[in-house]
């Protein structure tokens, strides 16, 4: 079997700068001032080695990645948010360069990191097919040849000469995917684009991708949806913290991933650690843990319908914090529900100093699966001061919640809610 993609010791480093308050981009004058300062320091302290800028920090999005993909393989890439999947895809599609390492690619590569890249809202559907096609690397001849096929797939014949800004989001996505699906290539790289669009269309897209796979094309597919990965892929690469931690046949890899998600978690996480990626400006959160109700024992397994205590330790030195917010997310990163002191107002004090806050959920409503917690502390006026997403992951098992022996089947939603039925 020939190798379609061979990744060797691939690494990608980003420099992240801290404490930039106003703008995410540098200004030329900032840069000049910094250079001036550096030169000044050199002159004043000629023998001191220039220290690393404390505001800049290296971040390895990918570190020494190795794997191979054979021709005709349909490979899923899974991993938690921030694991490095998107960076990997960006390097594969040549949008950004690796810092070191190599990728050998055998065949033309078409990548679809976003549905409808380059679509212009003012242009008509017809015009956008040509525009988008060209941006994705098709020639006008190719597009003309496949035009009817694209239109048929997208089901928007009637609106071909309407500006796409008047399209419904469903039509928009259909048209965009239709163009991309007709790219001439041997390798197709797809990011989580199927998260949009209605169920029927998603099915159609999956069908199309399956068909492409059947034609011997190599497909690389990133998704958080395990069901989609199971349907489409014959192999899966698991990425975690910039490294490949598993690469095996689909079921094996998914099992590994799911068990790892929970194994890594001890039901407790230290948030005072420097390495924690926080999105707020301040470091106020100390730790987050899940407690057995009424005890001090941490746990990583929660049963549906149980009492759950969530423990938040904080250290707020100067200012006051108005609220504490917790969101429960499923593996796709989608928030299932959230709670906060500012919602139910059962606790109205401001947080100050060091302390420990307990959030009790009387009947934990989530069904079977792995979930993660986002946590934030903030003030009404400034919003979140400290915010850590995916802070803690845990597993939920559906017990006999309804006391009937019946369970909520997979695909029936993510909440278990008690209800009473009656005939009136």
């Amino acid at each position: 079997m020939t190798v379609a993609i061979k990744v060797e010791n691939l690494s990608k480093k980003y420099i992240i700068s801290h404490e930039k308050k106003t703008a995410s981009y540098e200004t030329f004058s900032d840069s000049l001032i910094q250079t001036g300062k550096n030169i000044g320091n050199r002159i004043l302290h000629p023998f001191q080695r220039s220290e690393n800028d404390p505001q800049k920090e290296e971040f390895w999005a990918l570190k020494d990645i190795n794997f191979e993909i054979n021709q005709g393989d349909k490979v899923g890439i899974i991993g938690r948010n921030g694991a490095g999947k998107s960076t990997l895809l960006k390097i594969l599609s040549r949008i950004t360069e690796p810092t070191s390492g190599k990728i050998h690619i055998n065949g033309r590569i078409a990548s679809l990191l976003e549905v409808g890249t380059g679509f212009h809202p003012e242009l008509t559907g017809r015009e956008n097919i040509y525009l988008n096609g060209a941006i994705l690397g098709m020639t006008r001849k190719e597009i003309k040849l496949k035009f009817d096929e694209i239109v048929a797939f997208s089901e928007v014949e009637k609106f071909l000469d309407t500006p796409v800004k008047r399209y419904s989001s469903g039509m928009y996505v259909r048209l965009a995917f239709a163009v991309a699906a007709h790219l001439e290539s041997e390798i197709l790289v797809v990011d989580e684009v199927l998260a949009v669009g209605d169920a029927e269309f998603q099915k159609k897209c999956m069908g199309k991708m399956d068909e492409l796979g059947g034609e011997g094309k190599t497909v690389v597919f990133v998704s958080h949806k395990m069901s989609a990965i199971r349907n489409l892929c014959n192999r899966v690469v698991v990425v975690n913290k910039g490294k490949v931690v598993n690469s095996s046949p689909t079921d094996e890899a998914i099992d590994f991933y799911l068990s790892q998600c929970v194994k890594l978690s001890k039901g407790y996480v230290d948030l005072s650690d420097k390495k924690v990626a926080r999105q707020g400006k301040r470091k106020l959160l100390v730790s987050l843990g899940l407690l057995e109700a009424g005890s001090e024992k941490y746990r990583r397994l929660v049963k549906t319908g149980e009492v759950l205590d969530i423990e938040v330790k904080f250290n707020v030195l100067e200012s006051l914090v108005d609220y504490c917010f917790i969101a429960f997310c499923d593996l796709s990163g989608e928030r299932v529900f959230s709670t906060g002191t500012h919602f139910d107002k059962t606790f109205c004090q401001k947080l100050q100093g060091m302390g420990r806050l307990i959030c009790r959920i009387d009947e934990f409503p989530l069904v079977d699966g792995e979930y993660t917690l986002d946590i934030a502390l903030g003030t009404k006026t400034n919003g979140n001061l400290d915010y850590v997403s995916n802070a803690l992951s845990f597993r939920v098992e559906l017990n006999d919640y309804f006391n009937t022996g019946e369970v909520v089947l997979p695909g029936q939603g993510s909440l278990a809610v008690k209800s009473s039925w009656s005939m009136k």
Binding site: Y14, A23, Y25, E26, T27, F28, S29, S31, K90, I91, L92, S93, R94, I95, T96, E97, P98, T99, S100, G101, K102, I103, H104, I105, N106, G107, R108, S111, L113, E114, T117, G118, H120, E122, L123, E127, Y130, L131, A134, I135, L136, G137, T139, R140, P163, E186
Partner: protein
Amino acid sequence: MTISKQNFQFTIEAGKAERHYWQDLWRYRELFYILAWRDISVRYKQTVIGVLWAVLRPLLTMMIFVVVFSKIAKLPSEGVPYPIFVFAAMLPWTFFASSFSDASNSLIGNSNLISKVYFPRLIIPVASVFVSLVDFIISFVILLFLMAYYSYWPTWHIVTLPLFLGLGFFATLGAGVFVASLNVKYRDFRFVVPFIVQLGLYISPVGFSTTIVPEKYQLLYYLNPMVAVIDGFRWAISGGSTALNSTEILVSGVVVTTLCLVGIVNFRKTEKTFADVI
């Protein structure tokens, strides 16, 4: 249309993009056209008079110039009807001004493309220069009508016009590509560019003739590459009755070549990080 797969073997490696780059630029050649076409057709969508704006804009500007400089300031125009004198200079200047500012902002304006799709990034600023070239052609047709109105017939000199247009094109390209790449990282240039364009109008011989610049400053003046372009346009259109000397063309040629080289080299050097910083 079968292309052997051998053609598509390549390696992604840090700092090794160079080899494919010019090849890719050729492969994506249609994108120049498509992006330019997009910008043009989008510009006049949802306007009442549509493409008429393309004609109206240069016409109005020209009329203002004529009133201000000819009627009020009474500047000399070397024996050429003043509207033609001004219009001949305004053509290349407007071309430079609009394409330079469009090109400088083009990368930021297309940041959604840059962070999601690969293609040689050089296409984006170059395509925006082409957009202004279309405006230029429309304005040029207006000039022809204007000349007919004044019964001012061109001589063989007009044949040299493409040469000066080329000089102007590359001056714009060099400057535009250079500033566009800087603009990705340093957004200061968003504010610098309009300033350059505004200032440039006064230090370029658009409303007046180069001859009024004192002798001893002439050489310095020629460092502005647009001086030779504008003088060249005038010379070609007026049939040689306005001044043009070889020194200015030479100086301008050197400046433009340097600008293009520096611009493209810098662009190529920073291009790989565009997706990371934009």
